[in-house]
């Protein structure tokens, strides 16, 4: 009934996704090679491409990505690259954009969780 029930699930899912992206970015930036992306990260980005997700966190993030610099076609390219362990010039930029959007949503959800 209260805000916390909604926000705790959203926040916790956003944290999992944000941590997975940040960890992968650290691997990419520190190794200089092509580290394998974890399956949970690939699945998450795939779900962002689908409109009608069952989780509120994904629904909200998906909407804000549609009007951001990371629309569905770029998410598609990102998924393909991660799945095939491929690289392309904007791979890190795209992951950073996604991490930025996640960070915004995560901060909002945390604030609502702590001060509903």
């Amino acid at each position: 009934m209260s805000e916390i029930g909604l926000q705790s699930a959203v926040y916790s899912q956003l944290c999992d996704y944000a941590d997975a992206i940040n960890e992968h970015l650290v691997d990419l930036k520190s190794s200089g090679g092509r580290p394998t992306a974890p399956q949970e990260l690939i699945t998450f980005i795939e779900r962002l491409q689908r409109d009608a997700a069952s989780e509120l966190a994904v629904r909200a993030l998906s909407r804000s990505l549609r009007v951001s610099q990371l629309p569905a076609d770029r998410l598609g390219r990102l998924v393909q690259a991660l799945r095939g362990n491929l690289n392309y010039p904007d791979l890190v930029t795209d992951l950073e954009l996604l991490a930025t959007e996640l960070r915004k949503h995560q901060a909002g959800a945390y604030a609502r969780l702590r001060r509903p």
């Binding site: 009934m1 209260s2 805000e3 916390i4 029930g5 909604l6 705790s8 699930a9 926040y11 916790s12 899912q13 944290c15 944000a18 941590d19 940040n22 960890e23 970015l25 650290v26 691997d27 930036k29 520190s30 190794s31 409109d51 009608a52 997700a53 069952s54 989780e55 509120l56 629904r59 909200a60 909407r63 950073e96 991490a99 960070r103 995560q106 945390y110 609502r112 969780l113 509903p116």
Partner: protein
Amino acid sequence: MNEEYFKGSLGQLIERARLLLARVPRQTAREFRPLAQTCNDRLAGVIRKLTALRDGEKYRAVTAQRERLDLYRSAVELLDLIETVAIAALERQHQDEVFLNRVLDEMTHEIGYPLVPPAVSSLSRDYFHIYTQFNLICVPLAESRHLLHWADLYHELAHAVLAETNHPAVAPFKQAISEAFARVQQHFLTEQQRLDLTPHPQLMRDNLVVWLTCWESWLDEFFCDLFAVFALGPAYVWSHLHLCAQQKQVLFEVPKFEITRHPVNGARMQLLLQAVDQLGFGQESMALRERWADLMNVTRETSSAAYDHCYPRGLFDRMVDLSFEGYKQMGCTLASSQLSGVRGLLTDAWSKFWTDPAGYPQWETKAVESLRA
């Protein structure tokens, strides 16, 4: 941000996490053991993460400092939540809470709840709510002594169902909400296209965008309400009517510019009444509608044309149908006219409330005492 800062701060946080780990009670009531285990696991995970962020070579790459800071902040927030919510709940463990946990255990058993039952704590300063990451429901201090709002525990149980991302048992309900959201999107897209055909004020177009965004969150609340009414039956709707009478919220308010995350109480009641009809409680439905009309006569509120656009009847029909199927496919037990156990008690409570309002408080005290015995 430099290496010295991370070294000092991460080291201090690791110590704090270890201290908290030592505060997790070893001797705890049976109902709180899963929460204690969750705290242990989460704290161990945080310590691992903080140690890696401090000592791991890869996190020292100059270009990875933004990500390192994000990971650090996530760990700080998680630690705060563990300390102020989960461990705070474990340290209380009043007899009232042990009792409420027993009640919730029975509730989940009666409906065939597909997940591990949450723990209940009386920590809440804000009505009923659940922290899904800890599987912990918080209720106000005196709730263990009163029956009329226990119905909301079923609503909170549904939040845990919707938050579960992997368990196959809850997949049908999650599929239902996913399909419902597709319907919502389709509805508002069609409305936008209809507005595009003829000149309409920009405000109407803007409203549709706001409403669609609101529905992203409303859907979760609506589905939690539907889960609760399918599980408990009319007693949940009586409880909601009680809430509508107690809260100062405008019953049929329509958002104009700001996104709201909860649907208005009037819309929730409209949906719940449809669900009661779906369950086949004809007589109860009539009684509920009469009392609801009484309340609206007092508040002098009615719905508007904008309300009907924002909360379309067709979407309500689909939500009820989809959630009903999803609920049944999870293997959960539907409410019926012959309820026993906690569900029977909550149904009796409302019956007593309306047939003998003056005698209700005394009856409730005795009923709770007898349940505690």
